[in-house]
Symmetry: C2
Subunit: 448 residues, 2 copies
């Protein structure tokens, strides 16, 4: 076999990076469970026609077929594709199993997704997402839209992402579709979706060209375009944004509803974690299925990365006959986040293996005795390996050093007491495998 | 959207089943880490030509292509397929990253794999495997072959799989290719692989037809076929199997080497966990890359399921020029195991959500106060939800009941003390969110 080479867009981490990813995933998952979200997984494939319902994603889909299917023969209903997100499969799962689920249904889902896009920094063809959604039958109370930022705030704080003490490492930017649509309607625009798509380009093309786009594609007058831009400029970490909107003098009931919901989101977040959320009325989100709150998230100090966690409320993604399943969800782009942080050299881990103790071996015949010591340590939750060979102790210590294993255990021979050495300090002391424990901070690898 | 239907061979669990799966995976993973295996993931796709290196698997592979690739145009080197196991991708990963890995390299890998086989009970097209492997550069000491059954024994014991007290729920059947090949060579057979393939069919077609097959395909005389069957009949939970082999009077150095290794495997396992392992000389494993110990595993009481965990030692799976990376690995068929146990109604979980406490809501205006209580409980690691609405308390209690949430928390109004109710016993008592804890057994869902 010649040496294999990577496949562009399909990242694979080295062991220390994968240890960091696993640490981050455990922290995210633990937070999701603290908020009562239950785990769920869906299959990797969906019927191709379902994946292609939204025309704009068709270019990104990977088709899957068995090698010995005849490619010339149309496979019709059986054609399958790899899912490109976790929201579409989840909506399908809810419809398929509605009679067997308890609503409101809170689930988290951490899985790979695939998109056939051109790979670039932080953009992959295979990547990991961590999603939470809450769906209900018929109606979904707006307070869930205020809850999700708290979960994301907890999931990503506690990670050493370079933030100042007491500051959240992320800033969640929130808006509400009802605010935009109500406002656009209130100033007399008849195609609020076209207006939204134009405003969505604000960061990319700037206000002047957005104004032109509003005139050209959304039928806006220059004055209406100016009003849309005035709305998009409003941003505040508290309820004061609502006064700024009201000062623009536009009257519309949907606008009022949206403002009340957005105030609740911002105030709930401020009570939980000051500085976590900001109302930012330029946030539009391209996907047209959002109907209420929308979220984007910046990592402080890495704003150039763009949003690392996005989502929103959707009312029409899962409907069966007259039954609707409105939901709200948010998705952490785990591979994207980690890929960019690895690229910036921003994350380290205290060791590249779970192992806390290496049990040394004086002679190969003593392996059973070293196994007994390892068993005693593992029984009390201490990750332990036995040395690969009865090489000189110096070589066995280097085995531990190269992996960052902090302790080497020397079994006592001929009735002597065992000793354990902290190979970082060189301290060595007598120890008994049934009672010795490392300091808590050494038990598991920790993120630096 | 019309109601979607399942896709045959792509199982999806309902929430309680997925909770069980997550519990089982956490237990498996924790065990792997206690033995110092580091987590690893590889991409889902491999170059198609690499997947097809072993001719017999070609029928099972799923091909992946971008929707807008021209299917008429041959994609050549770029053709990709979904991996059908985790061993082939791991061997490729080791070769690709050899310069950046520490050897011996111990990794675990828990991922979905895909095979285009005909679906049937316990056989899926998409399924989850949990693998451990140890690879080294140039040589791999045989003691690792004795270590893997200990890991699997620990990973699957502690799960309530219906075993008697003190008994392992599994029986690992071990053999060693060197024993078979040495023995076949010792009796004068020139095609030991053909003999192995014939003996591998013993369970399916019985000894008479295996004897015929040995004569027809492996060039055996009737006496040689009889000797092969005599070897395959030997089975013992201790080193006595070696005497039974020696009593057959065959001399071969490879046979002796294999017997010594197999004795070490069986005795190491007996010292760790009596009854965990049995030497069973009929175990052959179909895959021809094994070169030493091979493993199959039966779940006690469910022997009809076949092997739920298999593997072995391989010396030639990863080679680059003159450098070899011998390894030993074993794989738990998690989806297969759980699918069969779910079908037998053999596993239950104490609740279908992680939530331990539901904080009730007297009125929607009190949501911020209930949020504060939930935050205090979560800060101390207690999974908590706030009630979806300020419905009558009876309805809020039923919300908890339907999900198996054991505790409902009633916030005190107008300065009164909070109270917490165990809704199983009906007991209700005053409580303070900053200090109250549930009994340890209630904190997380437990397997029944």
């Amino acid at each position: 076999m010649s040496k294999p080479t990577p496949i562009s867009g399909f990242p694979e981490w080295l062991p220390p990076q994968r240890m960091i990813e696993q640490y981050v995933l455990d922290h995210i998952r633990n937070t999701f469970e603290l908020y009562g979200f239950a785990p769920l997984e869906t299959r990797a494939v969906e019927p191709l026609d379902q994946l292609l319902r939204k025309g704009e994603t068709s270019k990104e889909v990977y088709v899957v077929r068995r090698l010995h299917e005849d490619p010339a023969e149309p496979t019709g209903d059986d054609a399958l594709g790899l899912h490109f997100d976790l929201t579409v499969p989840f909506a399908r799962y809810v419809l398929e199993n509605a009679g067997r689920l308890q609503f409101p249904f809170r689930r988290y889902q951490i899985q790979k997704v695939w998109r056939g896009e051109r790979p670039q920094e932080g953009r992959y063809r295979e990547f990991l997402q961590a999603d939470i959604d809450i769906v209900d039958r018929d109606t979904l109370p707006a307070h869930y839209e205020a809850e999700l930022p708290l979960v994301i705030g907890d999931a990503l704080s506690g990670l050493p992402l370079g933030q100042s003490a007491g500051q959240s490492p992320i800033l969640i930017q929130v808006n509400n579709r009802k605010v935009c649509e109500g406002f656009y309607r209130g100033i007399g625009l008849t195609d609020p979706e076209a207006a939204l798509r134009a405003v969505d380009k604000l960061d990319k093309i700037g206000p002047d060209r957005v104004a032109t786009l509003l005139v050209d594609t959304a039928g806006a007058s220059p004055a209406q375009a100016k009003a849309c831009l005035a709305l998009a400029e409003i941003s505040a970490p508290d309820a004061s944004f609502a006064e700024a909107v009201q000062a623009l003098g536009v009257q519309d009931p949907l606008l009022d509803e949206g403002l009340a919901e957005l105030v609740a989101v911002v105030e709930t977040a401020a009570a939980h974690s000051p500085g976590l959320c900001v109302a930012d009325l330029r946030i539009a989100r391209g996907l047209d299925y959002y109907t209420g709150t929308v979220y984007e998230t910046q990592l402080r100090g890495y704003e150039r990365f763009g949003s690392i966690c996005s989502g929103g409320r959707y009312d029409n993604l899962a409907t069966a006959g007259s039954t609707r399943f409105p939901g709200v969800g948010i998705s952490i782009g785990v591979s994207r986040l980690l890929g960019l942080l690895f690229g910036a050299g921003a994350l380290t881990i205290s060791r590249s293996v779970p192992t806390c103790v290496l049990v040394a071996l004086g002679a190969e015949e003593q392996r059973p005795a070293s196994n007994r010591i390892a068993e005693a340590l593992r029984r009390r939750g201490i990750p332990t390996e036995v040395s690969p060979s009865a090489a000189k102790f110096g070589k066995q210590i280097r085995y531990a050093e190269r992996r960052g294993i902090p302790y080497v255990w020397f079994p006592g021979v001929d009735g002597a007491t065992d000793e354990v050495k902290d190979i970082r300090s060189g301290d060595q002391a007598p120890a008994v495998a049934d009672v010795w424990s490392p300091p808590t901070g050494d038990l598991r690898p920790v993120l630096g």
